[in-house]
Amino acid sequence: MPQQPDHALIHKPASLRPDPNLADYVQTAARFNWDDAAKLLDGLPGGAGLNIAYEAVDRHLAHGRGDRIALRWLGKSGARRELSYADLAQASNRFANALHDLGVQPGEGVFLLLGRLPELYVALLGALKARCVVTPLFSAFGPEPIATRAEMGDARVLVTTPELYQRKVQGLRQRLSGLRQVIVVGEAPAGDASLHGWDALLAAASPDYTIAPTDPESVSLLHFTSGTTGKPKGAMHVHAAVLAHAVTGRYALDLHDDDVYWCTADPGWVTGTSYGVIAPLVCGVSNVVVEAEFDAQSWYRVLAEERVTVWYTAPTAIRMMMKLGAEALQGFELSALRFMASVGEPLNPEAVLWGQQAFGLPFHDNWWQTETGGIMIANYAAMDIKPGSMGKPLPGITAAIVQRDSSGLRLIDTPDTDGELALKTPWPSMMRGYLHEDERYRKCFVDGWYLTGDLARRDADGYYWFVGRADDVIKSSGHLIGPFEVESALLEHPAVAEAGVIGIPDPMAGEVVKAFVALKPGFAPDEALRSELLGHARKRLGAAVAPKQIEFRNNLPKTRSGKIMRRLLKARELGLPEGDLSTLESDEK
């Protein structure tokens, strides 16, 4: 849906405390270069390369900041735990040593499947120290997405909880033959010799560890994201990406040394890793981690009681808070809060303005994707905001609106013209490949530009506006969902002949997943079967990926080659023009 800049500009504040890191966007963008920016980092001692975990943790000890709180963890049932940078250095050293003791080699895959527990952060950093390739998975995934990703990413080690193991992983062990070590938080349940208990494993490991020389171009993180067709894509990132995390932490989130920062995203998604773990720690701030799921009142309590200064959250949560109304904020002392940002999907102008009304601060929307590794386009603390716009490219990033044609790319310079959003390569946190899929990776790049798959426009002032996706990928609560993955799970059910999955607009989640299903002969499209299919999909995929609605059809619209025309299903569902039907062979019934 095109969004016009019809809302009043929010002028940058006359003065900001503390002074913003990016005080003059135009000047900084003109002068910026990544080599100079590298001064924000230390590098491994003795010129031994660059390792994310060293930049995030160990170097702060060398600078005399070891006593500062790195993680302030708030548990579901009121528990509270604080880890200083020195504590985190020791704990992650122990985990790195534990991996070594288990015979895990650099470059091997360490998968994390657990809620927002301190162990998640320790394991992620420890595995990076050991130069393993880390993949955090969303703990609400069902067994099928877990298995697909663990197989693709060749998971050697899995860190999880005893409950998640029992519910989701145990039944996959035969299939995941490459998975050699499973570590469960706390103590291993009695009677299962194949599991290591976290407590005993770490207690036996040394708290001293020297990170081995790390090539900045070696793979550090493997993040899965969804495409329109086929399996999820494994975007590979390298240790050098940490420079982008440092720069965006300073510029886009305006992090200062003494900030108390809270990113509400789960590390199972790329935002929760890049900005819930790496960027805040690299910037040396105190990082608040909340284990519990969204609940407006408890979120306000966290903001007030922890005296959060910088808050990074998402549109779905903001819209839920809006629904509850600004009155719900009464009684919470939020004077510490000075900067609020949002990511995941475009933030509607009303929500940006609601921030001002309810918190006295606007939400600063920004844009990036798994493939870009870090924030690329943002609204900055000291720049006017056009509500509904994603802002301007980060200093060091060149963005453009382009049109693909047979001869390559055409850059569109005319303001307010729709096209595909493209970014000039390279930049430090750019993905270095899709795992095992070179062809798919190469297709993302044309003439030295990375093509994002997002449609956007740029206005005459240089602000970017999101228009829509160029493909069929669904965005629900800020997470990308590949229709193919959902269709595949439905097709596994014996009653299903065809499945077509689309996203339909939803006021809270942006989009929700809806499935159209045609049945095999002999099956009746009744309520009992509908709920059986719903349950089947939820068990396999988990609530975050499974459809919320299922509708029966006798036949789904298909092309000559038998491809289901999701575009047409969507146009009809939304009452939009059906467009070009020349490839339609077999219509919907």
Partner: protein, 78 residues
């Protein structure tokens, strides 16, 4: 509504949202969202279904009181 009616209603509403959910395996004080793998949309739909089925208006500020079975029973049978 008495407590049994409330439980029957919860079962009925959940069957439309998360048919795979096994209510019998959930403790009274467990967070339903975690125990039954409900996301925030599922939970909102549960609240809407409970409100419609019981005729009790549920204010948004009260949602946290309905995170557990015990909470739902207390709220709807009050």
């Amino acid at each position: 509504m008495d407590k049994d009616e409330v439980m029957a209603l919860v079962g009925k509403v959940l069957a439309g949202i998360a048919p795979e959910a096994d209510l019998a395996g959930v403790g009274d004080d467990e967070d339903l969202r975690a125990a039954l793998d409900l996301d925030s949309m599922d939970f909102l739909n549960l609240i809407i279904g409970l409100s419609q089925g019981s005729g009790v208006a549920i204010a948004e500020k009260d949602y946290p009181r309905l995170f557990t079975l015990q909470g739902i029973r207390d709220y709807l049978s009050a």
